[in-house]
């Protein structure tokens, strides 16, 4: 299972890094005479209605499909881990202010906020990624904080305080390693959520400009071709699903392995 999951994610990573070079055709090259053609030897997954090669667009789109969710996951992980540790370790007014802010943020309808940021306020895709990282952070802060509250009462943390170690050192050198399984699993779940949410934004037409090779946008642009070349819509949708499932399963596995004392 692990080999399979790693293999799938590895292929996705290769496509993300080298997709543009691996693509058999220019992903933006149009040939209106070849519009919505089914799979053939020349075009393995057929073409879309503007005659662009679907396989090439899938490969070229892997970069943005995977890179931005990774950015969201990393930002979310850094923010939520720092703030969660701080709230759980310091407690008192820091904890109270932070938790009430988290309560407020969790109550916001995430997708609507993103649509407003990107669509109505005219923010670019970068703003969507930033907003998504901010929106995903509160949930993870709450998890990290609750784990920190439990860890800070354990004997090793008490000993560190007795030795007079600085709070930052205790949090990041002593508590954090014990939270690592949850941090890694949460990061992978953030990646999955961002992958799906960004694809959703593209599907709604408020993410990337028309014509950009992007899996979510391809589903939206090609869903009208289901009876002409179904692969144009099914292939990107399937890739989003496969990558999301793989990352989720890997997150579970990473959590189990790290909880047992390291990745195996």
């Amino acid at each position: 299972m692990r080999v399979f999951l790693t293999g799938v994610l590895g292929l996705a990573l290769v496509a993300a890094v080298a997709g543009t070079w691996l693509a058999p055709y220019d992903p933006g090259a149009q040939d209106l005479a070849l519009g919505a053609a089914g799979p053939s030897a020349a075009h393995w997954l057929g073409t879309d209605d503007l005659g662009r090669d679907v396989l090439s667009r899938l490969l070229a789109g892997a970069g943005s499909a995977l890179l931005w969710p990774v950015v969201v996951a990393v930002c979310t992980m850094l923010l939520s881990t720092s703030l969660g540790l701080l709230a759980g370790y310091r407690r008192g007014w820091v904890d109270a202010v932070m938790m009430r802010t988290v309560d407020l943020a969790i109550a916001l309808p995430g997708m609507l906020v993103l649509i407003v940021v990107v669509g109505v306020l005219g923010g670019g895709y970068g703003w969507a990624v930033l907003a998504m990282a901010v929106l995903f952070t509160p949930g993870d802060i709450r998890v990290i904080r609750s784990l920190t509250l439990a860890q800070r009462e354990l004997a090793y943390a008490e000993a560190a305080r007795t030795l007079g170690l600085r709070p930052a050192r205790i949090m990041f050198r002593h508590l954090l390693p014990n939270l690592a399984p949850t941090v890694v699993a949460s990061a992978l779940l953030s990646f999955v959520a961002a992958l799906v949410a960004l694809a959703g934004l593209s599907f709604l037409g408020v993410g990337l400009p028309a014509g950009t090779p992007d899996w979510g946008l391809m589903v939206e642009e090609n869903r009208g071709l289901l009876d002409l070349n179904p692969w144009a819509a099914i292939a990107p949708a399937a890739l989003i699903t496969v990558v999301a499932c793989t990352a989720t399963l890997l997150g579970d596995r990473a959590f189990e392995s790290l909880s047992k004392g390291g990745l195996r």
Binding site: L32, A33, D49, L50, G119, A210, G211, E221
Partner: protein, 514 residues
């Protein structure tokens, strides 16, 4: 005993229901479900001058006159004479009644027109009647309309927007006539049985209808915004007919079992508008380069799937046919020619190309057209940066003439008169916010020509229209792209004819074979 009776009645009822369900398809249907892509918002053209609302209005409200299948004015509620070039005398049919049984008077007909000029009504059709000076009920069943100046397009406009409703009702509800709360009363083949913004509209046969009674007893309008869901509803028989067919998807509709896909010339023109007030588009050589670079034939095929033609003249095709027949004027054309495009660009102030932001609506066909155009322009060094916006925001900005650049526009019109279209394109008044002149092109000379056209007839009309079209072709504020057919789908259980001008669809719809 009581329980036994009830049980027996239940069994009989169940069997009856089962039998009637099974026999359904064999029976002649006298009710029809029509699928709409957007919900009608008002059954009064003053507040619901849009495709779905006017479709329902056409079944309930009669206009004073009609257009025949060739686009020529024909009597409907009234016949007319023209005592002088600037006035019309309409004589109402005798004995016509509204669906509530009250007789139609000349006063009702006159008020139905004059209310569009009342600022309190804020009619969406007001611009159609700005040339009207006076409307008055005169004599027995007669209405005199006096225009500020002769307007040969008046009858065509009246056939589109002069719907007749009772004065008493319209006067009591200047702003909410036709709303779900107030409804409307007309003389058309059907009357409103139910109208809800959410659950749709149900119409029933109007027993007071003055014409041949419609074959259908009931018409129900259901709103199904998603095109694919609408297609599946037609395929399954849940919906019997729809005009919500995008010709681009023609291939999906032509093979539906038990459904006829019907195509007929659309009174619409799809084009690129080039905002020439500033930036590279101010340069006429740049505009000509763009006109040469865009492959209209390919765009037309992409967007109409063979049910349309590339456009070379900035008028809807049915208007061109109505005016010129087959004798088209010789106008400058900008054929697809990359060498010519590059040559024009070389003569411009941007010989090496440039980058241009191009906002577009993120839903609908706009994104597809703009991608095809961007690919064509990239070949001569013009890089379009496509910027998606939610459709409502995009439309709002465009109507405010905010951030105009190179826009895809597809406008539909109601009459065969070019005077309905040309002021939208080149009048200076339309270049202001809320106008449709998105290019900003317009001179004192074009305004003078439009003024002359508004009262021109015969050869003079052709001369004025040709001069304006020639100016547009030479100055290239617009690049005509294609003329698409209108499309409808109809269950084979029913039959009706569709054409560009007539709006008698529901009066003429009947079960197949009758």
């Amino acid at each position: 005993m009581t329980y036994a009776k009830a049980a027996t009645a239940a069994v009989v009822l169940a069997l009856t229901t089962a039998c009637s369900s099974g026999a359904g398809p064999a029976q002649t249907r006298d009710s029809l479900v029509w699928g709409l892509a957007t919900a009608p918002n008002s059954l009064d053209i003053a507040h619901g001058f849009n495709k779905s609302s006017t479709l329902v209005q056409s079944a309930v409200l009669d206009t004073i006159v009609a257009l025949d299948s060739t686009g020529k004015p024909a009597p409907r509620l009234a016949d007319w004479t023209q005592p002088d070039p600037a006035s019309y005398l309409f004589t109402l049919r005798k004995g016509i009644r509204f669906s509530d049984g009250t007789p139609v008077t000349a006063d009702d007909a006159a008020f139905s027109l004059s209310r569009h000029l009342d600022p309190k009504v804020a009619s969406q059709a007001a611009s159609y009647f700005t040339g009207v000076k006076r409307v008055e009920a005169v004599g027995e069943g007669q209405v005199r309309v006096t225009l500020k100046r002769p307007s040969p397009a008046f009858l065509a406009v009246a056939a589109t927007a002069w719907q007749v409703t009772p004065r008493k009702l319209a006067e009591a509800h200047p702003k909410d006539l036709g709303s779900p709360e107030v409804g409307t009363v007309g003389t058309g083949p059907f009357k409103v049985s139910r109208f809800s913004l959410t659950s749709g509209v149900v119409l029933e046969r109007n027993p007071s209808y003055w014409g041949k009674p419609p074959a259908l007893r009931k018409v129900e309008f259901k709103t199904i915004p998603d095109p694919e869901t609408l297609r599946l509803a037609v395929r399954s028989g849940e919906v019997d007919a729809t005009d919500g067919v995008n010709v681009r998807d023609a291939r999906k509709w032509t093979n539906l079992p038990g459904v006829k896909a019907i195509f007929y010339p659309g009174n619409a023109i799809a084009y690129l508008s080039l905002a020439l007030k500033s930036g590279p588009l101010k340069d006429p050589h740049v505009r000509k380069a763009i006109a040469h670079a865009v492959d209209r034939k390919a765009v037309a095929q992409l967007m109409t799937a063979g049910h349309g033609t590339p456009a070379t003249i900035m008028l809807p095709k049915p208007q061109i046919t109505a005016l010129y027949g087959d004798d088209l004027p010789g106008l400058p054309e900008h054929a697809h020619d990359l060498a010519a495009a590059k040559a024009e660009l070389a003569k411009s102030g941007y010989p090496h190309g440039f980058e241009l932001k191009a906002p577009y609506a993120s839903t609908g066909d706009t994104g597809t057209v703009m991608q095809a155009v961007a690919a064509d322009l990239a070949k001569i060094g013009i890089r379009l940066v496509l910027e998606p916006s939610p459709t409502d925001q995009y439309v709002s900005r465009v109507m405010e003439h905010d951030r105009l650049s190179i826009q895809f526009v597809n406008l539909a019109y109601g009459t065969p008169e070019p005077i309905e279209v040309l002021p939208d394109l080149v009048s200076r008044a339309s270049a202001e916010p809320q106008g449709f002149n998105f290019s900003g092109y317009g001179t004192a000379e074009t305004d003078r020509r439009l003024d002359a056209l508004s009262s021109a007839t015969g050869d003079e009309k052709k001369t004025q229209v040709t001069a304006l079209l020639k100016e547009i072709a030479e100055q290239v504020p617009y690049v005509p792209l294609y003329s698409a057919d209108y499309a409808a789908a109809l269950s084979e259980k029913f039959t009706v004819g569709f054409d560009t001008w007539t709006v008698d669809t529901f009066a003429n719809l009947r079960p197949a074979g009758r």
